[in-house]
Symmetry: C2
Subunit: 383 residues, 2 copies
């Protein structure tokens, strides 16, 4: 159901010929109202793709009538011509739908440094518009895939209103492609600022904590569109929780589909003095290549966890640190704990708990192991 689970939305996904292999590569999501409120969060990479620069301006108006998304080309590092192409795409969508270009967000994903085939893309917009449907969410989700092996959608339905969404990417794991794109829709009645607040709160503890390979994309975009078609105004807290649930579900799907990964690693930091400390420590552990290799080898190498914690500025005493891997406290008080042979690492999910013994704050970061398949997928591509 994806982005068309909520009332007031239509979508389509087609093959416009942008991808050379003929797979679907163009998606269109349209908000038919009555309201067209929207919020967005974008990559914090300072090298931003043209569609990000454009969509950031669109979202400043907080009114979005449509989102057009293409795979097969990121339109990043493409200079003024790339930005003109993004603008032309928005104008085409606006023309076909009878809306203003400044209400059309644009997302692209694919190789960096290559201009898009605009003739195919603009013709594709017309084809997609002709196929817009209240059942088009699935096809839209399929059309934004790059190296994804499955398309990702999620829906939460509450009393008379719904939040749904689609995502592509694998954390920031994809190669030159390098992008996570997410479009969420709801038919709840909400003001712009509530939408914005709910989306930022949700991404902060979900997508922002999915850190498959530590690499940040030039194109990452998460959009939330609200049609108001349900005519229901939910309590803010309930709405925010529904958005968080959809983001959390999509984030988990991204981790499970990360390129070349054989393990999904949940890094849970507890006993931190502050949430920022917990996040910093979690990221440091999640980005440690030596640990990620050890997990791949099913080796409960807690020394590499301590080594990663030691590189942070978080509050802790080295001789009070505790580490559990899959429920076994292999490190206690900074030294050897329970027998590491007790750790069962045969399954895909691995759970690391790092206890800083410095407070009561926590944070969870999700990552993957580092594998020969990851190296292969990311070295064989684009050459």
């Amino acid at each position: 159901m994806s982005v068309t689970a909520a009332k007031g939305f239509t979508a389509a996904g087609i093959a416009a010929g942008i991808k050379q292999n003929g797979n679907p590569d163009l998606a269109l999501v349209v908000n038919n109202g009555p309201r067209r409120a929207a919020a967005g969060v974008f990559t914090s990479n300072r090298v931003k793709a043209a569609p990000v620069l454009w969509s950031e301006q669109v979202l400043k108006g907080a009114q979005v009538s449509a989102v057009v998304l293409n795979s097969g080309g990121a339109n990043a590092c493409t200079g003024p011509k790339g930005f003109q192409d993004t603008h032309a795409t928005a104008e085409k969508v606006a023309e076909v739908l009878g809306r203003a270009p400044i209400e059309v967000a644009v997302c692209s994903t694919g190789l960096i440094g290559v201009l898009l085939p605009m003739d195919k893309l603009l013709a594709g917009v017309e084809t997609a518009a002709a196929q817009l449907s209240e059942h088009g969410g699935e096809k839209a989700a399929i059309a934004i895939k790059t190296t994804d092996t499955v398309h990702k959608t999620s829906v939460v339905t509450k009393d008379g209103w719904t939040v749904g969404g689609m995502a592509k990417g694998a954390g920031m794991l994809a190669p030159g492609l390098a992008t996570m794109l997410v479009v969420l829709t709801t038919d709840a009645v909400l003001e712009d600022d509530a939408l914005d607040r709910a989306l930022r709160a949700a991404t902060r503890t979900t997508f922002d904590r999915v850190d498959s390979d530590g690499c940040m994309s030039t194109n990452d975009t998460v959009l939330l569109l609200a049609s108001g078609a349900s005519e229901v105004t939910p309590e803010y807290e309930e709405f925010a929780e529904a958005v968080r649930q959809v983001c959390d579900d999509l984030g988990q799907q991204l981790i499970r589909d990360a390129e070349g990964a054989s393990k999904d690693i949940k890094v849970e930091v507890v006993g931190a003095a502050t949430e920022d400390d917990a996040v910093e420590v979690g990221r440091s552990i999640a980005r440690n290549n030596l640990l990620k290799c050890a997990i791949h080898g099913e080796d409960p190498n807690w020394g590499r966890v301590l080594s990663a914690i030691g590189t942070t500025k978080a509050a802790f005493e080295p001789d009070r640190l505790n580490v559990a891997i899959n429920g076994v406290w292999v490190c206690k008080n900074g030294g050897v704990g329970e027998d590491r042979d007790k750790v069962d690492m045969r399954y895909r999910e691995v759970h690391i708990v790092a206890d800083l013994a410095a407070g009561s704050e926590t944070a969870t970061i999700w990552t993957n192991d580092l594998t020969a398949d990851y190296v292969h997928e990311n070295s064989a591509y684009s050459s």
Copy 2:
């Protein structure tokens, strides 16, 4: 010649039985004076191994009579017992040599979280002391190897005085082993503060910029011992340059022997507003797993360089960035530059130049590619 190239030093390297495979695993370096000045720099990891905690105290006295180094066990995360073991080792060396324990530095490398076999280690100290020789530098360099495929030594001889040294490790690339150990010796006559200044200046632009896999060890130690036996007092600048040359040479040897690597990557940042900016950008590029995979695949993927630059706080404008790979400016003004097919990446050394076009400062960081062999070596170990 290694640590015994300079006059006033003897060394030995033996197999004490710490390593289960019977390879050499214990080295002893002795400063026979007349002076025993010394300086040291240690890992900035807050989780420090017992020998680092001990040797930091030793170096506060700036007098070092001997350094004892073992491979086969890092003595890290080993609690109070681990520290007692380090202390007992220093006491044993002091007893055998007739010096004070507080003048004996201790270095260990190997698995984290395992206590050392002290009976073998202490017996080994006696054996090593009996074999001390002015020709023992080579054997000492061999005894500190862990996953190193070759031992690393370097010597610079000037007018009547010499700086020599040995190193083990591969940046911070080694697995649980995780350590770079370096001992430098000189027979020049120098005060403590000049030694300290020269060593810090040298490591800042050499070992600190060798960043094979971004992982920081619990045990990294670089020591510089001065015997004064040449009776020559060199100009500070000339001495500092000699120390830098030895450090640079040893650093290059570490990169060339990095585990599982097939490429040595020189990341040269130019046009930076400040040296700190240049170093931050260089490290960000050097630590980008996607780029390291691309280099492994001989793919001049400049989009991944820009993406890495974009995550930093350095001063730059995205549309003024330029990137050259092996002499070809594949990215100009933030977009497509010269034909990427012109880039020849068949050789082991790869040279990336990132021009921030924001000033005149520069820095060079050395790293390696990310390979399936790296994953294999670091996942198969210790399980």
